[in-house]
């Protein structure tokens, strides 16, 4: 026996497909949608359809964009000499929110994960090489997450890029702001020591 009317069950099932949404959360979201006015529900559905229809990947950096080339890549105030390589579009947003970096970005679309079958061919690595062949870049900054897979991807890229650009750097990592030395692992502390600087 169905607990919900068929259209409601369909909506609950669709919400359940979202990451981190279980049956209870899906039910709560579906009931919330039921309480929306027709206009609000249409605006919600339109937003989903519009994002699917209009958002694609920037042809240069592979960030999400609604144009052929994204605003960041077209921004003439940003230098072409620096490329910051990130794993996901959300990492690009986090990096750019700092306002510290004035170069261009390159989004890999993930990190190397051998156990999940994600290798260089599944990432935008060839496209990064093409950018370096096409324009002289003075520095490539590898800003993948400081996880085991992020570090491995950076190690791999560093070897691959060393002959294509004068400088390949890795963002500093070690003890995080608000972190606790007592709970840091050896690898983190070793990196924190290696990355120490004079005050």
């Amino acid at each position: 026996m169905l607990h919900y009317a068929r259209p409601l069950a369909r909506l609950v099932a669709e919400f359940e497909k979202l990451p981190g949404v279980g049956p209870k959360s899906a039910q709560r979201l579906a009931f919330y949608i039921m309480r929306l006015s027709d206009e609000e529900a249409r605006a919600f559905a339109d937003a989903i359809l519009e994002v699917k229809a209009k958002i694609g990947y920037c042809k240069v950096c592979f960030n999400f964009t609604d144009q052929e080339i994204c605003d960041l890549c077209r921004d003439s105030r940003r230098t072409d000499d620096l490329i910051c390589v990130v794993a996901e579009p959300r990492d690009l947003i986090a990096m750019d929110k700092t306002g510290e970096f004035k170069g261009k970005y390159h989004v890999l679309g993930g990190v190397l994960a051998p156990m999940e079958g994600i290798g260089p061919d599944q990432l935008k690595i060839r496209e990064l090489l093409a950018r370096l062949h096409a324009h002289e870049v003075k520095e490539v900054i590898l800003a993948t997450n400081p996880t085991v897979e992020g570090d491995a991807t950076a190690l791999y890229l560093a070897r691959l890029l060393k002959d294509l650009t004068p400088r390949v750097t890795r963002i500093a990592h070690g003890v995080p702001v608000g972190g606790d030395l007592d709970y840091a692992d050896q690898a983190t502390l070793i990196q924190a020591f290696e990355g120490r600087r004079e005050l």
Binding site: P114, M115, L129, A134, E149, Y156, R159, A184, D185, A187
Partner: protein
């Protein structure tokens, strides 16, 4: 595996409890005390709270993080392969102290090994031995004649080929007689296989360097042997093989701009 906004599901392999999944709450926050500890290739002392479906990691102390493996892409690929192979060959909540100790010693030895592929092949052979899939190397699995493993080729029966299907080295007569898929294996390679399957001295293991033709033969035979036993490929195998032959760095021919 990410769970919700900041949690993640982590697979642990515990000495006393075997393989099982747990939830690490908040472990995806950069300031979380569990963030570093729930990364792959960490040796932990962990305290778990029993949960409805999955246990919850409440405290943990990192005992070893294998920094040399994390700093070397080749070692990282080999360590990842060992972990995936163990994952494929183990079942949940099946305590296996010997397998735990094997993985741990393999990760330690990898960090200072003269030939990391020798360590990986030794791990494969020992793991298969523990699971009951060890290649038969002391007698021909078709005719059951014992190989002359002492005097080599001068007398007795020698190994002429490896049959993944029969799970061992075939003698010359059986290799010629059988039509099943066999691959060439030299008596030297068979001798190395026997040694790697039993070598339990960590220092000796770390000093072993396989001649390249032997390494190639072992790689080929063990890969086929494992594929037949597991009935599927280990995903990280393809990357490890590509790395071994330098294909992962052969991306120097980038796509033309109009193909992007």
């Amino acid at each position: 595996m990410p769970l919700g906004e900041t949690d993640k599901i982590v697979t642990l392999f515990a000495r006393e409890y075997g393989k099982f999944n747990i939830i690490a709450k908040g472990a995806r926050r950069t300031t979380s005390r569990l963030a570093g500890a729930t990364e792959p290739l960490m040796l932990l002392k962990a305290l778990l709270a029993e949960g409805m479906n999955l246990d919850v990691l409440t405290q943990c102390d990192i005992k070893e993080s294998f920094p040399a493996i994390r700093a070397d892409f080749g070692l990282y690929l080999r360590a990842t392969y060992c972990c995936e192979l163990l994952d494929r060959m183990s079942i949940e909540r099946d305590p296996d102290i010997e397998t735990f100790d094997l993985l741990l010693s393999t990760l330690y030895i990898l960090q200072r090994a003269a030939d990391s592929d020798a360590v990986v092949h030794s791990f494969e052979l020992k793991l298969m031995g523990l699971a009951g899939y060890a290649p038969m190397m002391d007698a021909c699995p078709r005719c059951d004649q014992m190989f002359d493993t002492v005097t080599g080729q001068d007398s007795g029966i020698i190994e002429a080929a490896y049959s993944p299907m029969r799970g061992g080295a075939l003698c010359r007569e059986c290799a010629m007689a059988t039509r099943e898929e066999v691959m060439a294996i030299s008596p030297d390679a068979a001798t190395w296989m026997r040694r790697l399957a039993v070598e339990d001295n960590a220092r000796a293991m770390a000093e072993i360097v396989l001649p390249q033709p032997i390494a190639d033969q072992l790689n080929r035979s063990l890969r086929s042997h494992l594929r037949l036993r597991l009935e599927r490929d280990v995903k990280s195998t393809a990357f490890l093989d590509a790395y071994r032959v330098g294909a992962m760095e052969n991306l120097s021919d980038p796509l033309p701009p109009d193909a992007r």
